[in-house]
Symmetry: none
Subunit: 123 residues, 4 copies
């Protein structure tokens, strides 16, 4: 899995990592049981600090997307939790933005369907 980090973004690096891992799991690129790089390896690969990498893993752990044991490093999991309020709020906002960009209901649904198919094609 290849990370694409934007160091100039307002989005914290650890959040970018979290987002990309979430996306990768949803798309099937990362499968349950698969091992993620160690914090050290990730930090070196991505050219970031260990603590930043660690924080990303802690976020993912708190969401139930990975388990970080003392044995295996970080391992991918499928979380059991339902939809979180931030997810709903974010979705609502994006749909409003699409509406403002001139899209109608059908267009939006088509777009969402297309995104779903693209992202989850591998699964």
């Amino acid at each position: 899995m290849l990370l694409r980090l934007d160091f100039n973004s307002d989005v914290p690096i650890y959040q970018q990592i979290r987002n990309q891992v979430v996306t990768a799991i949803a798309s099937g690129e990362l499968k349950p049981g698969e091992k993620l790089p160690t914090v050290r390896a990730l930090a070196e690969e991505a050219g970031i600090n260990m603590m930043t990498a660690s924080k990303a893993y802690q976020l993912l752990k708190a969401e139930g997307c990975v388990t970080t044991g003392r044995r295996d490093g970080a391992v991918v999991r499928i979380p059991e939790r339902g939809v979180s309020p931030p997810t709903m709020d974010g979705l609502r906002l994006r749909i409003c933005e699409l509406r403002l960009a001139g899209m109608g209901k059908e267009e939006i649904l088509e777009l969402c369907g297309k995104i779903f198919d693209e992202e989850v094609s591998g699964r």
Copy 2:
């Protein structure tokens, strides 16, 4: 239009304002040509710093959602720009999160349609 600000949120105040204005325009609660309060008035009403209110308007102006006249007045308009990359990225992320929360394509599309109907009912 009533602003609901959460001062404990991680989302910056100015961003909350921007989001709520965007949502209000999308829902038809705010209509093109309608005048928004001045920066000063908004700051007083909401109990926030003038710089914060100003920043929110700047954001909205940059997105083409308002036009700001000579003084502080801001007038609602419908932006002409298409869908922005952040919007697309955000939407993609939310859909991945829904997928990870266990929802299938049909459920997600249904949810999006429901949100659209709720938010844009007034228009």
Copy 3:
């Protein structure tokens, strides 16, 4: 409020801080709305790093015991959450330990009542 940190303890410093704040809130020493020192002030007072102090506040924030805004620093809150599983597990373990120390049911209940009265006397 005075913090007593044991730098030789296995319990992480940020956890010690969290525990003492929780105890202080329960005892009424800290009241809702009361302001906690800034991370910088706390770090200096306690002779610890800013990030350690910050982590303690983040823990408390995640538990709903404080709100850390960009305006006021950290402010004490009464959390709305119910009893967490770790609390129950910890309580269960301690009761077993008391049993093993030779205490009977009545003695244990008396002890718990005494602790409650001591800790929550100020409230």
Copy 4:
């Protein structure tokens, strides 16, 4: 006696073992004089490192909950020591957490009594 280890927990494996043995003794599931598996056997059964198993036994021995013979054998005993400070501190913390979760004195005592009855029923 069946160990239930959570390798994803933040609680160290050896501590989990210690806790469960303590609980088992308190509940009467393990009786004084009863033999525990050797370090080697325990490690194999539970799929853990021998050092981890050994550390758990060392903990229990230090607390007076087992006596270890010449080889690896460990025999259950009832400790003579009184209540340890960590136990008291932990109990105090849990009671504060319960208080913060909104429980009153009566509720807490009732809960403690219920836990006692459940855990120590077999004795």
